[in-house]
């Protein structure tokens, strides 16, 4: 079963990826799938912007618009941003703590396949009678009333991919707690690892409410339940709470890893250690903690009453403090440093003003009484695209350029990278800055079109033009990726020259067992410390020995496939004869493959010391 030292054909490579349990390959899978869904979500965004370019436009119909809008939000959040973040976590975090692998390689692969099948399921709705159309928030009264299967696709698809995310979160937590290399204390962990840790904890506690909420929705829509039917005693506000108890932490699940990536980039390209490391850690934890206390700021106009609104308003504002600490620490990391404006650094630098602009509008939204005006207008749309695009997407682009060599062993072209950056930056501000004013001038969000004569024309046109800049920028990035891959110029372990953390001590890409010998960590920025002492690499913490590796497995794919099949059965259960059998078959596939996993012992295999010895680090990457 070993994939060690084999030359592979195309079919074999595919099979390898379908069965891989190697965190670095799973990272690549996440990158490809997440990147694909980003393009899909981006195309949906383009449709939105084209439709809204001029008043009374009929580029898309009203019903279709609602589907596009819902799928844009859902796809971007669940199927693009989160998986892309998971890509970097998988690729980098285990290396950063000096681990040979994650704690549960099998579950890692299961997490990916669940996400993937959930996402595919959700998107198949386009071809099977219509996508969900109740907004990414799927508020209960509308989502119950929505006809067809759109919302069923939403509920079942997110349920499946949500399970994958939860599994991923637990896996990262255990990896960080149990598998740090000797000397890698908590307070020596790089910030990206810290943010992975906090985010995984957020996932652990935020996804169960979503799971429950989705179950309630599924029960009501598909099994005659009455949770949200007020004529039967139900209450739609339950959904709103459940969704936002998940939904608010979710936005910090998106942004904290972005903060982590930027922390690494700022330190690297300023050649300075992170300013105020311990308060950065503290702020990350605090943001995560406060993230659970503020969800009702999305419900100020629901009618919770002034006491609840005031409490949640003040709690929300509090988050500005730890976030501010981070902003200033980043700027003072650069202060006195030696800044090199590489592409990743450009993204990082541009992130500061962009994100601060989005963050402060967040605080404005937290002013409950004023939010009665902002809520559900383009002001909110502007706010969250400023934080999400200006924070998360910038970080993903930065991370893609920064970690590309570590993941693939080649460098993206810096010139094209900079073009992508400038086009995207300009497009981003053009698109979203003006939306603040549109909102204040009275334009609600989620409208398929607007009537002339309200003063919305110019603003919307500008916004649409901006979106095209972003699309072109994204296309240039794709070209860059293709060119780089075709050229295939290999780079060494520390291609940026300024790497600080452990991953840069390994070849690019690292051998599948990561570390031949676990490194001894002697402080923060472990690799930098060694470099400053004139050493080439890390000092090993153990003698060379056999390495235990897990076997590849096709089971995660099959488990996820089973749920995918079962979801179709569940959905068409009521109107077709084949629904129930398919549901049962799907569940049997899943349970059967789970049983197989637990019945067949899988102890993995060993790489022998002797094989490691002739394996030269720099060309040791054959898998």
């Amino acid at each position: 079963m070993s994939t060690y030292a084999q030359k592979q054909g195309f079919g074999a490579t595919i099979w390898d990826y379908l069965t891989t349990v190697d965190h670095k390959k799973i990272a690549i899978l996440y990158l490809i799938a997440g990147g694909f869904f980003f393009i899909v979500g981006g195309l949906e965004a383009m449709f939105i912007r084209i439709q809204l370019a001029v008043p009374n436009n009929d580029f898309v119909s009203a019903g279709l618009y609602n589907e596009i809008l819902t799928m844009h939000g859902t796809t971007m959040i669940f199927l693009a941003a989160m998986p892309l973040i998971f890509a970097f976590m998988n690729a980098v975090m285990p290396l950063q703590i000096g681990a040979r692998d994650v704690a549960f390689p099998f579950l890692n692969s299961l997490g990916f396949w669940l996400f993937f099948f959930g996402g595919v399921f959700l998107n198949l709705s386009w071809f099977l009678g219509g996508a969900p159309d109740a907004g990414w928030t799927s508020y209960a009264s509308l989502s119950i009333a929505s006809e067809g299967h759109g919302v069923d696709f939403y509920a079942l698809g997110l349920q499946i991919s949500g399970a994958g995310t939860l599994i991923g979160g637990i896996n990262f937590l255990v990896t960080i707690i149990n598998m740090r290399a000797p000397g890698m204390t908590y307070m020596r962990m790089p910030l990206f690892t810290w943010s992975t840790f906090v985010v995984s904890a957020l996932i652990l506690f935020a996804f169960p409410p979503l799971t429950v909420g989705l179950f309630l929705l599924i029960f009501d829509r598909m099994f005659g339940g009455n949770f949200f039917d007020h004529t039967m005693g139900g209450n739609t506000i339950i959904w709103e709470h459940m969704f936002w108890i998940f939904g608010h932490p979710e936005v910090y699940i998106l942004i904290l890893p972005a903060f982590g990536i930027f922390s690494e980039i700022f330190a690297t390209f300023s050649r300075k250690r992170l300013f105020g490391y311990s308060s950065m850690v503290f702020a990350t934890v605090l943001i995560g903690f406060l993230g659970f206390m503020v969800w009702a700021h999305h419900m100020f106009t629901t009618g919770l009453g002034p006491i609840a609104n005031s409490i949640f308003a003040v709690a929300t504002m509090a988050i500005a403090v730890p976030t501010g600490i981070k902003i200033f620490n980043w700027m003072f990391t650069m202060w006195g440093g030696s800044i090199k404006f590489t592409t990743p650094m450009l993204w990082a630098v541009a992130f500061i003003p962009s994100f601060v602009a989005g963050g402060v509008t967040g605080v404005m939204l937290a002013v409950a009484a004023a939010d009665y005006q902002y809520h559900d207008t383009y002001f909110v749309v502007a706010h969250f695209h400023y934080v999400i695009v200006g924070g998360v997407v910038f970080a993903l682009f930065a991370g893609a350029h920064f970690y590309w060599p570590k993941m693939f062993g080649t460098m993206l072209n810096e010139f094209l990278g900079k073009i992508t950056f400038w086009l995207f930056l300009i497009g981003f501000h053009l698109t979203f800055f003006i939306q603040h004013f549109l909102g204040l001038m009275g334009m609600q969000r989620r409208i398929v079109s607007f009537l002339p004569g309200q003063g919305f024309e110019t603003g919307n046109l500008i916004s649409t033009v901006g979106a095209f800049f972003m699309a072109v920028a994204t296309i240039i990035l794709l070209i860059n990726i293709i060119m780089t891959t075709v050229k295939n110029e290999r780079v060494g372990n520390d291609p940026w020259g300024d790497g600080r953390t452990l991953e840069w001590a390994l070849p690019s890409p690292p051998p599948f067992y990561n570390f031949k010998q676990l490194p001894l960590v002697r402080g923060l920025d472990a690799y930098w410390l060694e470099k400053m002492e004139g050493k080439k690499g890390m000092t090993p913490a153990e003698p060379l020995g056999d390495i235990h590796m897990p076997n590849n497995s096709f089971i995660p794919f099959v488990i996820s496939l089973g749920l995918f099949v079962a979801a179709f059965g569940a959905m068409y259960r009521a109107e077709t004869a084949w629904g129930i059998p398919v549901l049962i078959i799907g569940l049997l596939i899943t349970l059967g493959s789970m049983a197989m996993r637990s019945i067949k012992d899988d102890h993995g295999y060993h790489i022998h010391k002797e094989d490691l010895m002739d394996d030269d680090d720099n060309k040791g990457v054959k898998a």
Partner: protein, 111 residues
């Protein structure tokens, strides 16, 4: 990765001693089980007995449930043993998030 984690147990540890320890622990388990049964009985009686008002009974039986669960966690699930710092941290975080959820649902979901 087995070579990363040498077995920390001392193989010469006195088996008799271990047996004794473990029997002793089992005795604690039985005691906590008895207490749990007792608490359950009290709770059922408190509800069955008409003399108490709901204002007393409800907090009272919830308190009993919490005590009982603490027994479960610390004795049956060994959270009193060492090496349970991370489990405790995450379990209590879960309890906190859950408690906030419950509080919200009891106060700001009306009627």
């Amino acid at each position: 990765m087995a070579n990363q984690q040498p077995n920390s147990e001392n193989p010469r540890i006195d088996i008799e001693y271990r047996r004794k320890k473990s029997t002793e622990e089992m005795r604690y388990q039985i005691i906590s089980f008895t207490l749990m049964i007792f608490l359950t009985l009290v709770a059922f009686f408190a509800v069955g007995y008409d003399g108490f008002s709901g204002w007393f009974t409800v907090p009272f039986i919830i308190l009993l449930a919490v005590i009982q669960v603490i027994f479960q966690l610390y004795y049956f699930m060994h959270m009193s043993h060492k090496g349970h710092e991370a489990p405790a941290l995450f379990l209590y975080s879960g309890v906190l998030v859950g408690a906030i959820t419950l509080l919200a649902f009891l106060t700001i979901i009306w009627w």
